[in-house]
Symmetry: C2
Subunit: 164 residues, 2 copies
């Protein structure tokens, strides 16, 4: 069995507590680099939690209640998030002509721009990981993670897990 990356030295025994730390460090590294890049491209006020919220709003817009459901928080919390997004110019509320109770939350062009830019940065960062690890090892990392976390990976209800 050929394992070129091993360099012949014995691998240290791992502790259980290292695993969450490694996963978190990887996650944080990506998110930190993303936001450094966003800040350099006209979005210095974007915080990690806003990215999740904007992703949950999507191209079509949502109501605050639905946004709360998607993010796993109360409708009041979702409403406050929309307030902050709106104050920064990333989202706006428009009245729903078909239902006078509802107000559709939509991304502004600036919000769309941030989302598109984030996608591009993530591609770039994944490319860097691929350069460091090799495409094969990167793909195996992703597959291994998908195996253990299952479909739960792509939920957006990460609110509260963020700061700056």
């Amino acid at each position: 069995m050929t394992e070129p990356e091993r360099h012949g030295r014995e691998r240290r025994e791992r502790w259980g507590f290292e695993l969450p730390l490694l996963l978190f460090a990887g996650f944080r590294s990506l998110i930190d680099q993303l936001h450094a890049e966003l800040a350099d491209h006209g979005h210095p006020d974007l915080r990690p939690a806003y990215g999740f919220a904007m992703q949950a709003i999507g191209r079509d817009g949502v109501t605050a209640s639905e946004l709360g459901r998607r993010l796993g928080v109360s409708k009041q919390a979702a409403g406050k998030t929309v307030d902050r997004l709106a104050a920064l110019g990333y989202a706006e509320r428009v009245a729903d002509p078909a239902d006078a109770r509802r107000k559709l939350v939509r991304l502004t062009p600036r919000g769309q721009d941030a989302l598109v830019l984030s996608g591009a940065v993530f591609e770039e960062l994944r490319g860097q990981w691929g350069d460091q690890l090799g495409q094969e090892r990167l793909t195996e990392l992703e597959d291994a993670l998908e195996t253990v976390v299952g479909p739960a990976a792509f939920r957006l209800d990460a609110a509260g897990w963020f700061a700056d």
Copy 2:
């Protein structure tokens, strides 16, 4: 090249944005299971951030200022964290006889117990990942992560990245 886990089907192309989601989902899965386990063993009020704080306090205790430095937050924020930990019975403040300004923050026996228990749970959870992935793939996952994040993995300054 033998790749037994491929099962012959073509692997879907991955998007860059999936990588942070997978890492985060893995991290959250471990932390959620840890806290479910802790809650079942007499520690229902322990929150993820408290684990980091207790880890930073360690066996020897620290001052609030030093705790702030280790966690990457202000000494005032660290002091508040100690207040909450103390209110739950996980930490206590003792005057330092050698320096009347300082108050040593120490873990109570209950705090030590929670730390020991957490370590055991993490070993158990890592074992479960090993069962699912195979020891080899798990080790490769850990090594790959360490490669990309470097020594930054084991910093404790994750405060603010948590909620319940």
